[in-house]
């Protein structure tokens, strides 16, 4: 009993240690004051949350004097401009996101517009916009900044490195893992026995289990991190999901065997005239559609979940006039609570589906053709049930 208390105290202290520095970075900024359009503000807030950001802001409010107070920490901005590498902290932008604050570093001027860093032309002193609100005297730069999403990826990466190496070490001395490993072990076995083994095939699954486990836990942990109040939206970034989908694409393209390429480029069992047409369709399917569906599914599910939760929280402001403060707040609380519960399920389901489909695609690429085709009177191959089944998947 005592040990449990000690353990939980230790983890609590760790959490506090990580998030205590937030109070250091409190910045004053002149607010506009006056009446704000709640609907537009909520819209802008949700848009801002869905995007990656250059500073880690936890919350902000306007105090009685009309000052805007921000709580969070600045993150390093690393950009490759036309003059070379430039680094500075994002706090130099003073939370400005519409290009009004210009940071000059060694002769290069930068402005932040909608969470993107622009480099201004040498003689420009302010950003000018055209009718579509695009900057006319600046251009985007190669942005290698440690953004909020990068922090999330690094955090989860370190967490996985720590917890799984600890789990692996425990098997050297004990038969049964202790602590957090006891939660992870059944999940590892589940991914191996229920996802990798049946979908990749008994013969090859060992080679790919490592990748499938990594991708499963990476997506699952990041999805769960997105449900914490720290406002991460890592798996809702197209760049992150595209990167994961490209990993799967490379793995099944590189490890595809002769039969796989044969079925893509010169499909057996169909008339010769149709084969080139099928080759185009199959190539597009293997190289574009499969990874595209993987990346869009994860991105859209997680983004949609975040938008729904935040819109339900926004009921609190939007329906305040019709339902009163208590009514609108409790409505928002109840709805967002249940949607968040569903999101916990979706977090697991999306990690499962991504891993499952990756395993399926890899399995299709490495499947061995251990049966002979029947031939008809003219010597053509007759497709059998096993060939046809692959086309539906």
């Amino acid at each position: 009993m005592m040990k449990i208390f000690q353990q939980s105290f230790k983890s609590l202290a760790l959490v506090l240690l990580v998030f205590l520095p937030t109070s250091i970075f409190a910045l004053n900024e002149g607010g506009d004051g006056g009446q704000v359009d709640t609907k537009n503000e909520v819209d802008a807030y949700i848009q801002h949350h869905i995007q990656d950001s250059h500073d880690f802001s936890l919350f902000s409010y306007t105090n009685d004097e009309g000052e805007r107070k921000h709580f969070g920490f600045p993150l390093p901005v690393i950009v490759w401009s036309s003059e070379g590498l430039r680094t500075f902290m994002s706090s130099e932008f003073h939370h400005n996101d519409d290009g009004h604050v210009i940071v000059e570093k060694d002769g290069v001027k930068f402005a932040k517009i909608h969470s993107k860093i622009y480099e201004l032309d040498a003689n420009a002193s302010a950003v000018s916009f055209d009718a579509d609100h695009h900057a006319t005297n600046g251009h985007k730069v190669l942005d290698l900044s440690i953004t909020k999403s990068v922090i999330g990826v690094l955090f989860i990466g370190l967490l996985m490195l720590f917890s799984f190496s600890k789990l692996a070490k425990q098997y050297k001395t004990k038969k049964i893992p202790t602590g957090f490993g006891r939660v992870l072990e059944p999940l590892v076995l589940y991914v191996r026995d229920e996802i990798a083994r049946p979908n990749v095939g008994e013969k090859h699954y060992r080679r790919f289990t490592g990748y499938l486990l990594t991708v499963f836990f990476f997506i699952w942990f990041l999805n769960l991190l997105g449900l914490t109040p720290f406002g991460f939206n890592v798996t809702g970034q197209l760049a992150v999901t595209a990167c994961l989908a490209i990993f799967t694409l490379i793995i099944y393209t590189v490890s595809g065997n002769k039969d796989y390429w044969m079925h893509i480029l010169w499909m057996p069992g169909v008339p010769v005239l149709i084969r080139p047409v099928l080759a185009i369709i199959e190539l597009a399917g293997a190289l574009i559609i499969k990874p595209f569906s993987l990346l869009v599914r994860l991105f859209a599910n997680i983004s949609a979940g975040h938008i729904v939760v935040m819109s339900l929280i926004a009921i609190m402001y939007n329906l305040r006039e019709s339902f009163g403060i208590v009514g609108s707040t409790s409505l928002a609380l109840v709805l967002s609570f249940f949607i968040t519960l569903i999101e916990v399920l979706v977090a697991f389901l999306q990690a499962y589906i991504f891993t499952m489909l990756s395993a399926l695609f890899i399995g299709m690429a490495v499947a061995e053709h251990d049966h002979e085709h029947e031939h008809d009177d003219h010597g053509h191959e007759v497709p059998d049930a096993q060939d046809v089944r692959g086309d539906f998947i």
Binding site: E194, F292, S293, L294, V296, R297, A300, N301, L349, Y352, I353, M356, L357, L360, I393
Partner: protein, 62 residues
Amino acid sequence: MYNLIGGGLIVIGAGIGLGQIGGKAMEGIARQPEATGKIQTAMIIIAALLEGLAFGALFLAK
């Protein structure tokens, strides 16, 4: 405006498809409860493929 109508049509189509998949899977499970695991796995895969298609279309409609 038109993309909103398109989005609505996509959601209707995806809803019909998901209803078919879920309903048939339920029926299959009721007929053969011992095959629940296999049916569920297949159901989730097909639902995921459909969802990928629908989200792709919604993404383009946006």
